[in-house]
């Protein structure tokens, strides 16, 4: 599948990516993160070799930006109630727990259990494949369990 014109990629994914960022960051911070997500996508876009798994790719960029945003302290506002906005408390906890995992495992766990992407999409998002994505996700889960047990 050839890479579509960026306009089409943007039109297809902007709403769900924005909704995702609102859940993660709240309304106020979602706007900046949204712009940053698509500017970053635009910078990297010509380097993509094909047009597959673009949705997973967009989520990967957005979730990295959301993580950076979360870490950045903000003087003027409290963190939004992610769990209540989201309606998916388990997912908010997961994000928090996964923070300390190595980057690949964290991305695999979050994309699989937080966003419900399948392993093929996650593999593409991580620049590997479905098998590697499955292994990374299960390694991440094992690591979380060990941590939980401590």
């Amino acid at each position: 599948m050839t890479l579509p014109p960026f306009e089409r990629f943007y039109a297809e994914h902007k709403e769900e990516i924005y909704a995702f960022l609102v859940r993660r960051l709240g309304r106020d911070r979602a706007d900046d993160a949204f712009q940053e997500t698509f500017l970053r996508a635009l910078r990297a876009y010509p380097k993509l070799r094909h047009g597959e798994h673009l949705r997973a790719w967009a989520y990967t960029i957005a979730s990295r930006i959301a993580i950076d945003e979360h870490r950045r302290p903000r003087a003027d506002a409290e963190l939004p109630e992610v769990a209540s906005l989201d309606g998916r408390p388990a997912f908010a906890q997961l994000e928090h727990l996964a923070q300390d995992l190595p980057p690949t495992e964290r991305a695999a766990v979050v994309l699989r259990y937080g966003y419900d992407l399948d392993y093929a999409d996650i593999g593409a998002a991580l620049g590997s494949n479905a098998t590697a994505a499955r292994q990374a996700a299960s390694a991440g889960i094992r690591r979380l369990r060990r941590k939980e047990a401590q």
Binding site: L3, P4, F6, R8, Y10, F34, Q35, L39, L42
Partner: protein
């Protein structure tokens, strides 16, 4: 679910152009001859399209100039303003950079000569061929006119048959007539 506001959408489109991240910026422009899709690269105007089927046009722009094609009104503002003035009868000459870098040499030469045909005047295909130093290439000139990437701004509507008939126009003869009437070349 909170939708992306028009303001946020616009801010992203502006920022993408401002940070020079686009291969092509385009927008739709309303005119008396219909809605035009107007596109520009960093070098200049690269496409004006009548009755554009956006999907096909975007694919074509992406293939020709690069995949970073985005609707972004600001880079088109200058062209939009000059087109408005032209259709209001307040402008006879366009002052816009054009990007013909990907045109074949012959096409570029013919389009360059075309750009010099003054407002309100017509020229035949044969005469234009002669000006481009290819006097026998009237038919080839016809093909270049038919594929003119920048109609109106590069005035292929001012090119007519040897007998003065309008002959043809990629945007339809009605439009050719409208443009020539606007310029006072037809009564």
């Amino acid at each position: 679910m909170t939708p992306v506001s028009a303001d946020l959408d616009r801010r992203f489109r502006d920022a993408a152009a401002r940070e020079q991240l686009l291969d092509v910026a385009y927008d739709l422009v309303d005119t008396p001859v219909g809605e035009l899709l107007v596109a520009t690269t960093e070098r200049g105007l690269c496409r004006i399209s009548y009755d554009a089927e956006p999907e096909r046009e975007l694919d074509r722009l992406a293939r020709t100039f690069g995949v970073r094609v985005l609707r972004s009104p600001r880079p088109i503002d200058g062209a939009r303003r000059q087109l408005d003035e032209y259709f209001a009868g307040d402008r006879q000459q366009f002052e816009l950079a054009v990007d013909l870098a990907l045109q074949a040499d012959f096409n570029r030469r013919v389009l360059g000569e075309l750009a010099r045909v003054p407002y309100g005047e017509v020229v035949t295909y044969g005469a234009l061929a002669a000006r481009a130093a290819r006097p026998r290439a009237a038919r080839a000139v016809g093909t270049v006119m038919n594929r003119n990437p920048l109609p109106i701004v590069l005035p292929c509507h001012r090119v007519v048959g040897a007998n003065g008939k309008l002959v043809g126009y990629a945007g339809g003869l009605d439009r050719k007539e409208t443009l020539l009437r606007l310029e006072g070349a037809l009564l």
